[in-house]
């Protein structure tokens, strides 16, 4: 049985201009020991999905429906106290910017210790000792000494290590990393990713990595979910997504990023901008930017939203185009032809 099941998750934010449907019917499962990569542009709903799983969205400002089930318990309908006991304990999260995510007024050790103490009935000293162990575990040199330092005395990579120590200090079964490397130097990014991989092996946790960086996904993910305008548009194993992509948006993402494992003449950007979530196109949300639209007969792309359908076991695609046609269009595009 899957450790985490997300079923038909929907998140909408009422605004003065209308309802913003940030996440629209997202479903997926994840097992312990596996890593799911969620890829998409800004505004694709990937961060909101993760915040909804952690129940970190303000219910006053967000309309949330669907199910987030961890070992049989639906967190969407659970009371605040139950959800709180899960947060930081069963499930933990690493955020994008470790500088702003750490409290500037408390020492790093105190902040890690606090995360441990809130879920464990231990003394302050014990919690701080545990924090030092965790800081050591994530590779902070001289952890006993650095634990009393403040976040501004840490480098960017060290801060993210501290965030990871904080997230892992209760041995969570689910770890969500929201753009964990975006704010870091390239050299540090690889260290942080391998650290996430290491701790996942050690703690056998389920990991969700949210990113817009395909390189990160290729590095850490077992499965990949591509999101566009609040919906899942393609889902499969990391090999499916990188070597057998079918949804034109996924193909567009891949052909707009340089790859070392394939020869292509040039990078082809995806034309246009993601649609406003307030004014989604009537049909497929990606249709206005889709290069494969001409291959679809009729005006299905502009009138109806395609279903997310299985193309091969474990590989789902949301597109009106026939599977064989999708593959050939994708091949052309990835070879650098339009």
């Amino acid at each position: 049985m899957s450790y985490l099941e997300v079923k038909d998750l929907r998140v909408a934010f009422p605004t003065d201009d209308g309802l913003v449907q940030a996440v629209d019917g997202v479903s997926f499962n994840i097992e312990r020991g596996k890593t799911l990569g969620i890829v998409g542009e800004s505004g694709s709903g990937k961060s909101v999905t993760s915040l909804a799983i952690m129940s970190l969205l303000n219910r006053k400002h967000a309309i949330i429906s669907g199910e987030v089930i961890i070992e049989g318990k639906n967190l969407i309908t659970a009371d605040e106290e139950t959800v709180r006991s899960y947060r930081g304990h069963e499930m933990a999260m690493i955020f994008q910017d470790p500088m702003s995510s750490l409290h500037p007024f408390f020492s790093v050790g105190d902040q890690v210790a606090e995360a441990y103490k809130v879920h464990n009935d231990v003394s302050d000293e014990k919690a701080f000792d545990h924090a030092i162990q965790m800081l050591d575990r994530v590779g902070i040199p001289e952890p006993a000494k650095r634990a009393s330092d403040f976040p501004h005395q840490f480098s960017g990579g060290m801060r993210q290590r501290a965030m990871i120590a904080m997230a892992l200090c209760n041995d969570p079964s689910l770890l969500i990393a929201d753009e964990p490397t975006t704010a870091l130097d390239v050299t540090v990014q690889a260290q942080i990713l391998s650290l996430i991989k290491d701790v996942q092996k050690e703690f056998n946790s389920a990991v969700i990595v949210i990113t817009h960086d395909l390189g990160v996904v290729a590095e850490v993910a077992d499965d990949v979910m591509v999101m566009y305008a609040g919906r899942v548009v393609e889902r499969g194993t990391v090999n499916d997504i990188f070597y057998r992509p079918e949804m034109p948006y996924t193909v567009g993402l891949l052909s707009s990023a340089p790859r070392l494992d394939q020869v292509s003449d040039r990078l082809i950007p995806i034309e246009g901008q993601p649609p406003s979530l307030l004014r989604l196109p009537a049909g497929c949300s990606f249709a206005p930017r889709c290069f494969a639209k001409s291959h679809v007969n009729g005006d299905a792309c502009d009138t109806t939203m395609p279903e997310l359908l299985q193309t091969r076991p474990g590989h789902d695609v949301r597109c009106h185009l026939e599977s064989s046609a999708r593959i050939s269009v994708a091949k052309q595009r990835l070879a650098g032809e339009n």
Binding site: M54, L56, R84, A92, M93, F95, P104, F105, V118
Partner: protein
């Protein structure tokens, strides 16, 4: 850190010298003859001239200032022989009008003002912060609007109005509260409390709004910070998130403001002390102004300025304790 405090202290002392000089020069430049103010209408020139020499007003101004400064450090003797008297250090002058050293007048008037200041500042800072938190947590709701209206109302009411109304109605007409009769708290606490109760509230009302507004702003602004989201993601209870994580960054600005407010109040609350007959610095100041008792006015002015300077110094030092980013290695 030590060097920082040392430098700050030197700076504060220098500032106090400048203030004392400015105050001294200003009051010496007033179109009054301090010597002729020492006795009433039927005064002979001989008496005035004798007092002039006795109090040192015959000396050139710079020499008067030097004597004034000397008095602060080593005390000051006035006159010679049988008519002589001494004001021990720190001497801020001699009130011929009251026949007393200014310093001892200030020392007598200080305790009521201290109690008044501490009580009202605690009341207004405390209530203001609590109201601000409440308003922020119910943002856009009824408490938010009610607090908003009430605090604006409280700020717009001058103390001479609220104080006078409290005196007229609560004490006079309805007799709910006994008339003010000041005692030191250790002498007669019930009388002290019933006397100070209304002045505390009257003084606290205008200050409330600033703290309520500021705190509301801080809580809302900090509440959307990433580190508050982190605190929530750790599974901390909302209470901890609010009091420990959200309010912590607001501590430095609020402390600064509260310390300066307290220092300002320690200079004396002229109107409130007058209305409620509290024998504090404010009442001493206003009486001295009416009586042209210049040495006392100089003394209260310098004392009030000293409170502000010292409060600033304390705030500077506190800042480095409160905010680790300011802490110097």
């Amino acid at each position: 850190m030590g060097i920082y405090i040392f430098r700050r202290t030197l700076y504060a002392i220098a500032l106090l010298f400048v203030i004392s000089l400015v105050v001294f020069v200003l009051f010496s430049a007033l179109p009054f003859d301090p010597a002729s103010l020492t006795c009433g209408k039927n005064c002979t020139t001989e008496v005035i001239e004798a007092n002039r020499i006795r109090l040192g007003y015959d000396l050139p101004m710079w020499e008067q200032y030097v004597k004034f400064l000397q008095g602060i450090f080593i005390g000051r003797d006035y006159g010679h022989g049988v008519a002589s008297f001494t004001c021990p250090a720190p001497a801020l002058g001699y009130s011929f009008f009251r026949q007393e050293c200014v310093t001892s007048l200030l020392i007598t008037a200080l305790p009521p003002t201290i109690w008044l200041a501490i009580g009202s500042v605690t009341l207004w800072v405390g209530t203001g912060i609590l109201l601000g938190i409440w308003a922020a947590r119910r943002r856009g709701g009824a408490p938010d609007h009610i607090i908003n209206v009430l605090t604006v109302f409280a700020t717009s009411m001058p103390t001479f109005l609220t104080g006078q109304m409290a005196l007229t109605f609560l004490i006079g007409k309805f007799g709910w509260i006994p008339p003010p009769d000041y005692y030191e708290p250790y002498q007669n606490f019930p009388k002290f409390f019933s006397t100070m109760f209304l002045p505390w509230i009257v003084l606290a009302l205008p200050g409330l709004a600033i703290y309520a507004r500021l705190t509301r702003g801080f809580v809302l602004e900090t509440g959307s910070e990433d580190f508050v989201r982190t605190a929530r993601a750790k599974g901390l209870p909302e209470k901890t998130i609010l009091w420990r994580h959200t309010l912590r960054p607001a501590l430095s600005p609020l402390t600064t403001l509260a310390a300066l407010d307290l220092a300002f109040m320690l200079g004396g609350a002229v109107v409130t002390e007058k209305i409620f007959s509290i024998p504090g610095l404010g009442r001493l100041t206003i009486q001295s102004v009416i009586q042209y008792d210049l040495p006392v006015i100089v003394g209260t002015t310098i004392l009030a300025a000293a409170f502000i300077v010292v409060a600033n110094l304390i705030v500077d030092i506190l800042y480095s304790v409160i905010d680790p980013r300011v802490r110097l290695k």
